[in-house]
Amino acid sequence: MLEQRILEDLFRRNYSEMNHLAMVLLGDDKEAEDVVQDIFLRVADSDIPPKNDTYLLSAVRNACLNRIRQMKLHDKVKGLMPIEDEVDLQPIDKQFEWLDDIAAYVDGQMDEPHRSIFHLRFDEDLTVSEIARRLGLNPNTSYKYLMQSIQKIKHHLEKH
């Protein structure tokens, strides 16, 4: 069993980042904390500490992907989770850079009303009809703008 002092040090040093990654992947505070706690329970039971902190983040990602794999299809699409196993996973720091890049593009380079539509769809989980009502647009126009927003991100990411 791992020494309490070493365990606490590991926990305090890594908890925030591990919890954040789990939250990004699962979208649920409680589940995210559960995943991280389970990992530390296993670390506590083992005799040797993990090789490095990156190992802990990889453990979080694997545990989250396992949970997603076990979700029902309807729950996956409601939470915009991957429906197939993700292959060719990037290193976690690269994945965060990629997510930062999308956020920076949306806020820095995307025009209105695409930017507002993007935020309402992905930040507030509104449906297209709700977005249309909120912005006083025709639902068909809102669909068109949402499609264009996604296409714009696609083209931006292809360029980089």
């Binding site: 329970l41 396992n66 991957p82 429906i83």
Partner: protein, 237 residues
Amino acid sequence: METTKEREQNQTNLSSVERKEVRHSQMTNENIRELLEMLDNPDAYTDQEIQDIINRDEDTCDTYSLMVEAKRSSRHRQNRKSVDVDAAWQRFNQKRQSKQHGFDWMKIAVFFIGALLVSGITFAAIHIIRQYQRTGVPQNDITENVTQTTTTIPVDTLTKDTVTVQPVIYDNIPLEKMLPEIAVHYNVKVVFVNNESRQLRFRFVWNPQQGIDQVISDLNQFERLTITRKDNQITVE
């Protein structure tokens, strides 16, 4: 503004390749529109319909993947708040303690169940022998009858009632020892792709009543472990 006549004229002027491209683009837009509509109300669709819509073509599939990334990006941006690590550490310790207590109780329960089972079997054996003695059957007949009684109980039933039904707890046992034992029960072969995974140690509770796929799924919860099954072979990566 382009009139209908002009549009028709333009379309007739397009080459067959260009017409194909236009048609493809229209179809893609329709498929993506269908995807967005489905995502607004997934409950109105069956699992099969959802799979079909997302995998309709490469563009639609890519669009869904991009939406997954866009959602992650949104959560990444929105959740940059600082976390109260002190409170998290306390919650973790509470969970750890409750798990430890639960485990202690489980050990005690397993011990008592075991003791009850052994004393039950002993009592039944004594009871059977006494009954035979009371009916005055000669000694050699008793032996024969007792033997018959035990052999008439199917071996499977005996195994299930006494050993197999009980979960088996592997605590800190190397995978190379644990997995072959489990595999024998399901009549499957174990192949280790690398030596590192052989030495992995876990605390794992195996319920032999569960199917092999459920057991593999439970084992795959351990983040350092990936186990797959094909027919009668389990591969550990």
